[in-house]
């Protein structure tokens, strides 16, 4: 997938009422319909509606790029797809001849439903016809009801706080994604599902964020690390790979420092705690902003390309900030992050202590305006990836590069 832009809604489309946790109301779509066609003839390969983010239930083909009869290779563009939140291009995951296009432009298709068939010329039209009919039934049935839904958002009670998390993926190591200051588990919408092809991937809402309890205590990385360990306990994971962004990077490091045996690898994306410099104006501005007009330029600093900041994105953040308790949480976190205008947190010493026991990778956008990318040099013993042209949100701006860095880090853990 190549996202055109995180959160981008094309002009003229209806925006759902702002509410960051809105997706929680919906049952997660079942993975079941995928490769429905396989049962007809193993040479028929189904192209299915992708799942971009845990909240996605439906996608709409806005245009087919490939045509019936085209020979496609892995990675070729097949179709443009639009969801409630994002638009992107579906790439072929299999090579072959595109024999049938099933999903029509403009119709709503449930995630996982077969939208086209790839098959060699030797497969008969009759066999294809049966597979098309089956796929058509799935599309026409729409999103499965609650009974057919997959894993929902779960909660764990940690240190007296309700912590929300959501997981996907059947097999493999546990990967836990830890968002940054002011974010939530949906920050990983472009990464969680792709990573789940190989791993069991969980994302949590840190205290003070998303749908978790809003009390953050002293707001320190150590306190927040307690929530991370609590989620690992709740999912029964003895060990896990941690991926942490910004404040979540410092939290991941603090988690590893507290219980190194439980951490298999660390991927730190623009992490806090590796130098004094930080954009204190951003942190305070985010906590203080009351209106869309105040918040928009603040949020714009997160991205290299400010046009990625849509009205929907700002409205979602505002709706979160207006929940009872959030303002106090954010101001407590600012106090924990800042000493004057400098960083208070220190992750560097902890990483040096962890040493060679755990593979560490640091990923940084070259155009980061929140924490300078030069601080990557202070992450001792880490493999460093500089994402050219990305801002503070490379996992949203360049998800494929970040995914590759995470996969590589996991592989290094042996």
């Amino acid at each position: 997938m190549r996202p055109q832009a995180p959160g981008r809604t094309p002009r003229g489309r209806e925006a759902p009422q702002g509410c960051p946790g809105a997706e929680d109301q919906l049952p997660e779509a079942s993975e079941a319909p995928a490769r429905e066609a396989d049962k007809y003839d193993e040479r028929i390969v189904a192209v299915t509606m992708p799942k971009w983010g845990l909240s996605m239930q439906l996608g709409k083909i806005t245009g087919w790029i490939a045509a019936e009869g085209d020979d496609v290779s892995v990675g070729d563009d097949l179709a443009d797809i639009e969801t409630e939140k994002i638009a992107g291009t579906l790439e072929a995951a299999d090579a072959g001849t595109l024999r049938r296009i099933i999903a029509r432009v403009g119709e709503d298709v449930p995630v996982g439903a077969t939208i086209a068939l790839i098959a060699p010329a030797s497969v008969s039209d009759d066999d294809l016809g049966a597979a098309v009919q089956e796929a058509r039934t799935v599309i026409d049935a729409g999103v499965p009801g609650e009974a057919a839904g997959g894993p929902a958002v779960e909660t764990a009670e940690v240190d007296g706080r309700r912590i929300s998390y959501a997981g996907t993926g059947q097999d493999g190591d546990v990967v836990l994604l830890v968002h940054g200051y002011g974010g939530d588990r949906n920050s990983w919408l472009f990464l969680q599902e792709p990573l789940a092809a190989q791993h069991r991937v969980y994302a949590l809402d840190l205290p003070g964020h998303g749908t978790s309890a809003k009390d953050v205590g002293d707001g320190s990385a150590g306190t927040l690390a307690g929530a991370v360990l609590g989620v690992l306990d709740a999912i029964g994971a003895g060990r896990a790979h941690l991926v942490g962004h910004s404040l979540g990077g410092a939290v991941a490091v603090a988690t590893a420092a507290r219980d190194p045996r439980r951490i298999s690898s660390l991927t730190l994306i623009a992490p806090a705690g590796f130098g004094p410099e930080i954009n204190a104006g951003y942190l305070r501005g985010f906590a203080d902003a009351q209106t869309r007009r105040e918040l928009k330029p603040v949020v714009g600093q997160l991205f290299a390309d400010e046009s990625l900041v849509t009205r929907q994105l700002v409205d979602d953040v505002l709706a979160y900030k207006r929940l009872d308790g959030v303002s106090a949480a954010l101001h407590a976190l600012v106090g924990a992050l800042l000493d004057g205008d400098s960083q208070r947190m220190d992750s560097a010493a902890a990483v040096a202590e962890i040493g060679d026991a755990v593979p560490v990778t640091v990923v940084w956008g070259s155009a980061d305006r929140i924490i300078p990318p030069a601080q990557a040099e202070s992450v001792a013993g880490a493999v460093r990836h500089l994402v050219d042209g990305a801002g503070h949100m490379p996992h949203m701006e360049r998800p494929a590069e970040v995914q590759a860095a995470i996969e590589e880090t996991i592989a290094r853990s042996g």
Binding site: G12, R13, A15, C19, Q25, T211, A319, L323
Partner: protein, 337 residues
């Protein structure tokens, strides 16, 4: 955590959470307890359309059934507010406001001013408005323009369950008298609403659909009719920006003006009568402050200047529908200037 609940449930939840949070919040009105404690069907009620259902048992002594005397219990609510309570009074239909108008416009609305800022009146008056329920001329009006006219009152018209909860929580926490308008036809509308408490501030319009060709400003139930029209128009290649005012006092002028400056074309959709209305007010705003940007005369889509008809056929014609909005948008879109 957000789940899907109805507009009615969202209002009930806001009341319950605020009563939980603040002991000075009380609920009062006709049948608000709804015959609780007596046998039979009445037990299930809680206000005439069930909005306050269940509160009586959760908050004993703080949900008051009142006599059918609006002038008495609205006066009592306002008095209680001046004495430190935060009453939420339910005035069944806004059509009945006439008998208690003095308490609202000449007392509650004036206290802060008359006492030099030393008095606050944190009262919320919830009331139903709007046509569509075959309830005829005396139970179907949209009288929010009357209240919008009066300084000292805040006037709120939520269009979604999310806004209903957040705006009502803001209304209860607000230190000024708030008129809270609930459209009868929206009570069963479902949408995502966070479980936690939250506020939607007053004076902040919501852009519910983005578009660059024509601005549609709407409020209350008409937001949904406008979205329906915008969807039809998009199929014809006309992209509308739909703005939900959410509150008419205070009014978010900036969001309206910014949109009009971008599109140059404005249609205002309002279920109320056309004279001295929100529709004419917004049209005047655009004419005064965005005249240079306008590329077409402002169109308004409103009910006619008549009482709401009792005849089903006539009532359906009375309420602005998507087709009338489509026509108005096409009219302003055709102007070349």
């Amino acid at each position: 955590m957000a789940r899907t609940i109805t507009y009615r449930e969202a209002i009930n939840e806001a009341l319950a959470q605020e009563m939980e949070r603040d002991e000075s919040v009380i609920v009062m009105g006709e049948d608000n307890a709804g015959g609780e404690g007596s046998p039979g069907e009445m037990d299930a009620w809680g206000g005439v359309l069930g909005v306050t259902k269940g509160l009586y048992h959760r908050f004993p002594g703080r949900v008051l059934d009142t006599p059918i005397s609006e002038s008495a219990f609205i006066g009592a609510a306002i008095g209680a507010a001046t004495a430190g309570m935060r009453p939420v009074a339910e005035l069944m239909f806004v059509d009945f406001m006439g008998v208690c108008f003095d308490q609202i416009y000449n007392q509650a609305a004036k206290f802060r001013y008359m006492f030099g800022g030393k008095a606050v009146t944190p009262v919320v008056i919830r009331t139903m408005y709007g046509a569509g329920l075959r309830a005829a001329a005396q139970h179907s009006q949209c009288l929010y323009p009357l209240f919008t006219h009066i300084p000292g009152l805040k006037v709120v018209l939520p269009s979604t369950p999310y806004d209903a909860k957040g705006l009502l929580m803001q209304a209860i926490r607000d230190d000024d008298p708030v008129m809270f308008f609930e459209h009868k036809a929206l009570y069963d509308l479902a949408g995502p609403v966070p479980e936690e408490g939250y506020v939607v501030p007053f004076g902040e319009a919501s852009v519910v659909r983005e578009g660059g060709d024509v601005t549609i400003v709407a409020l209350g139930r008409m937001v949904h009719t406008s979205l329906e029209a915008a969807k039809q128009l998009a199929a014809d290649g006309v992209e509308c920006e739909v703005i939900d005012l959410r509150t008419t006092s205070p009014l978010d002028e900036d969001t309206v003006l910014e949109s009009v400056e971008a599109t140059g074309r404005l249609v205002v959709v309002d279920e109320a009568h056309p004279r001295c209305s929100v529709a004419t007010d917004i049209a005047a705003l655009a004419a005064r402050k965005a005249f240079g940007a306008l590329r077409a005369p402002v169109e308004t889509v409103t009910a006619p200047h008549t009482p709401v008809p009792f005849s089903n056929t006539l009532e359906d014609l009375y309420v602005p529908d998507a087709q009338r909005i489509v026509n108005a948008v096409k009219t302003v879109a055709q102007w070349a200037r």
